[in-house]
């Protein structure tokens, strides 16, 4: 298809222009190693940041305003729904979501389970991070497994080997089995043009489908989560955050992330204009040369469709600078599944995807 060729050309040219060799660094730098630099972005007076610095006469910073809005939404959903759950992949947006939930209910526990749809192609260090986080916060973890559906013959492997689109069926199954009536997601409107049209509380029908042309108007901060039996609601409390907001917040709050978000050495090969990691489920073809590069991941998804970017951002502060200077969107740079067509995300969302 001509569209894809154009896409590849664009991405490859970007790879070439950015191809500066970086001296090696330790594998998998843990985010906890980076010192939080208090006062870099936010004028904060305590480790908790947020409201502490705020007096009646000054303005809230944009991060404080976004945090306050997200916490309000999380509390609304918990108050109005019987059985919410939070989609947690170990990716940065879901980690921020969980952090916001801990703040919303402090000193109480986060009052809902987390749900992970495991493609079977995840990065092992991300699964490890997921399990440690769940343990630390004393949460219940529900896992929907793409592999089990494939093994049972209820899902078929795609020709391109990408499993991201296959997550929809196990996700809807887990929602139904567990009778979740609200599911928190870390989707952001700046990620994708279909997501730019998404509501903060978004209704899904009995089949989990999104009907973008027939959405409820969302007014003031009054969220309407009413639904009938069989329907459920997706809640997106960080709808209004940008990728840069997420990183500034991670820095300010000193939030731990899986190490692959930071620069590290990795064996990679070039495919579809991205650097793909070599792994059990991600093998180079004979003509694809494997090289060692200093890379990091801007998004963390299925290993079979997520690409790395060359980067020497070893700390969260480095990443903030890198993201602020980036000329590519995070999905455009690193997601094969969103390059299938201009409406790839919209089509997946209509079927019930995140």
């Amino acid at each position: 298809m001509s569209t894809q060729t154009t896409n590849e050309d664009l991405e490859l040219s970007v790879l070439e222009t950015d191809a500066t060799e970086t001296p090696n660094a330790a594998q998998g730098v843990a985010s906890g190693l980076s010192e939080p630099r208090a006062g870099l972005i936010e004028d904060q007076s305590s480790g908790e940041g947020a409201g502490a610095a705020f007096g009646g006469s000054s303005r809230l910073s944009s991060l404080d305003t976004l945090e306050s809005e997200a916490i309000h939404i999380i509390r609304e959903v918990v108050a109005e729904f019987e059985k919410p759950a939070l989609l947690f992949s170990g990716g940065k947006d879901s980690v921020v979501m969980l952090h916001l939930a801990t703040k919303a209910f402090w000193p109480g526990k986060v009052p809902f389970p987390v749900l992970h749809v495991d493609t079977g192609h995840n990065f092992p260090e991300v699964i490890d991070f997921r399990d440690r986080t769940v343990e630390r916060l004393g949460l219940k973890l529900v896992v929907g497994s793409v592999q089990e559906f494939i093994d049972r013959g209820e899902l078929a492997e795609r020709a391109d080997g990408t499993r991201n689109p296959l997550q929809t069926v196990p996700l809807l199954d887990a929602i139904q089995q567990n009778k979740f009536d609200a599911v928190f997601g870390g989707g952001r409107r700046d990620e994708d043009k279909a997501r730019a049209k998404e509501r903060i509380l978004s209704l899904r029908d009995e089949f989990g489908q999104w009907d973008p042309r027939n959405q409820r108007p969302e007014l003031w901060n009054l969220y309407n989560g009413r639904h009938t039996v069989g329907q459920h609601v997706r809640a997106f409390p960080i709808s209004n955050w940008t990728e840069l907001d997420i990183w500034r917040y991670i820095e300010r709050e000193n939030i731990e992330l899986p190490g692959l978000y930071y620069a590290h050495e990795r064996e990679v090969f070039a495919r579809d204009g991205m650097w793909r990691a070599v792994g059990e489920v991600s093998q180079p073809l004979p003509h694809e040369d494997v090289i060692t590069k200093t890379v990091r991941y801007r998004t963390v998804g299925d290993m079979s469709c997520t690409g790395a970017v060359e980067s020497d951002a070893y700390t969260v502060a480095d990443v903030v600078v890198e993201v602020a200077a980036s000329t590519l969107t995070e999905r455009g740079a690193t997601r094969a599944d969103d390059r299938i067509s201009e409406a790839a995300m919209e089509d997946r969302k209509k079927d019930g995807y995140f």
């Binding site: 303005r59 916490i71 509390r75 730019a196 049209k197 009938t228 969107t329 455009g332 409406a343």
Partner: protein, 467 residues
């Protein structure tokens, strides 16, 4: 910009603040071009997005040989929108300058403009209304301004676009400016002490007065559009200074045994928090300090007065908090306080009422009927309600109330509702949060209308309601 310079910039930057604005107007007014111009000139559009738009523009033959970019495509997110070349739904866009982060709600002008404008304006600190300099104030402009006045948008900015096409003529601009101010006076917009109304000559296509002041309009001495957006006070800022503290209770935080393990691991005193009880919510207006006297408003009960003994946020104890902060408030007395109650500065709220006099912006294809049963969501409480009568429909162009017994999609009218439980209703004109409510269909749960409390029912002798 090199990353080193950028790092230095980030290091010295003051905390940015958040500003929400919406745009209203039709495609013909050049609204999409203006939005595209703001995003483009503030470098909010990244290379791959621009490339995708350029490809689609080329496929459609936009801009001919010159290979222009159809900036409208930046805000058309859905397949149907791209295919039909129209914008159906509000799209949200994000960009930032050194001073502010912006959330832009781009409201389509020609399809369901009332529904989209009401939605976008309900959360906006400012709304930019587009006028074509060649056409001046049209009926649609009057409609837009009417809706914005009703929703009490703090700042209305009228951008007189395509000023290049009238040869940057001062007389053309002054005439339109005078017309806009006249409409403003008729509506009370910009002259009520609550809202302001600004008129700016721009060329979205060439960028005149959009980001920078233009040399081609020397007779215009005011600021460029982006300068205005960077410096106007946000609604939260205005509302946090109000005397009247308002705090709808979302839920009670009472962990008992279920303390957060990470907090305990970090040294939380388990004994001290065994009986912790706080009321969680977001301050909708005003501010609160520890030691303040507050009233707890519970529907059907007399207000109970007590003292604030603590304001907590995720482990931090605050002395003071203001709108729009989300906090948890502890009170001196162990009242029975639940979701749906409101905590307010003592003695500042009038008696709760079960009679609701309101303006309704009807947003559903199902028309409103007298005698209909609906749900009303106000703050954190949802109650049943009966539509007693419809008091008329607003002609948005003439601003006159016409007789009507029903409201249909995109109509704005007056109605009287009887509530199953009394609510602490306040006039929307002065209380943008506690004066707002949703009308919900009890059958399918859909949102039927945006409601604005008109007057306190104590004023119901008002002749407007002697229907």
């Amino acid at each position: 910009m090199s990353t080193d310079t950028l790092a230095a910039d980030l290091e010295t930057a003051l905390p940015t603040t958040l500003f929400r604005f919406a745009t209203a107007g039709s495609v013909d007014d050049g609204k999409s071009t203006l939005v595209g111009r703001l995003l483009h000139d503030s470098k909010a559009i990244l290379a791959d997005t621009l490339d995708a738009v350029a490809r689609t523009s080329a496929d459609r033959g936009f801009g001919g040989a010159a290979g222009g970019i159809d900036l409208a495509l930046l805000t058309d997110g859905l397949r149907a929108e791209r295919e039909q070349g129209i914008t159906i739904d509000v799209a949200y866009r994000y960009f930032a300058t050194d001073r502010r982060s912006f959330i832009l709600a781009d409201c389509p002008g020609h399809v369901q403009y009332t529904k989209n404008t009401v939605t976008g304006a309900s959360t906006a600190d400012a709304v930019v209304v587009l006028i074509d300099a060649r056409k001046g104030v049209l009926e649609q402009t009057r409609r837009h301004l009417s809706v914005l006045q009703l929703l009490r948008v703090a700042h209305v900015i009228v951008a007189v676009n395509k000023i290049d096409l009238v040869d940057f003529s001062e007389s053309v601009f002054r005439e339109i400016e005078a017309d806009v101010q006249q409409v403003g006076r008729e509506l009370g917009l910009g002259s009520d002490g609550i809202t302001d109304l600004l008129v700016i000559p721009v060329s979205a296509l060439d960028g005149d007065n959009v980001v920078d002041r233009s040399e081609r309009t020397p007779w215009y001495t005011g600021p460029a559009l982006l300068e205005v957006l960077e410096t106007l006070p946000a609604a939260d800022e205005l509302e946090s200074h109000l005397e009247s503290f308002r705090f709808p209770v979302q839920l009670v935080i009472r962990p008992q045994g279920a303390l957060a393990p990470d907090a305990v691991a970090a040294g939380l005193d388990v004994e001290a928090y065994r009986d912790y009880r706080a009321y969680a919510g977001q301050i909708t207006e005003g501010s609160v300090k520890v030691g303040d006297q507050v009233s707890v408003l519970t529907p059907g009960q007399d207000p109970r007065t007590t003292t604030v003994v603590g304001i907590d946020f995720a482990g931090a104890s605050l002395e003071e908090a203001a709108a729009p902060q989300s906090v948890a408030i502890r009170l001196a007395e162990e009242f029975d306080v639940a979701r749906g109650d409101t905590i307010a500065a003592a003695g500042t709220v009038r008696e709760a009422s079960a009679d609701l006099y309101a303006s309704l912006c009807w947003l559903s294809p199902k028309p409103l009927r007298e005698g209909q049963k609906v749900l009303v969501k106000h703050g954190t409480r949802t109650v049943q309600a009966l539509v007693r009568n419809v008091g008329g429909k607003l002609d948005l162009a003439s601003f006159k109330l016409e007789p009507a017994s029903t409201l249909e999609l995109n109509d704005i009218g007056h109605a009287q509702l009887r509530l199953a439980a009394p609510l602490p209703l306040e006039n929307y004109l002065h209380h943008r949060r506690t004066g707002a409510f949703l009308v919900i269909d009890p059958l399918d749960g859909n949102t039927l209308a945006a409601g604005l409390v008109k007057d306190h029912p104590g004023d119901h002798e008002d002749e407007r309601y002697s229907i």
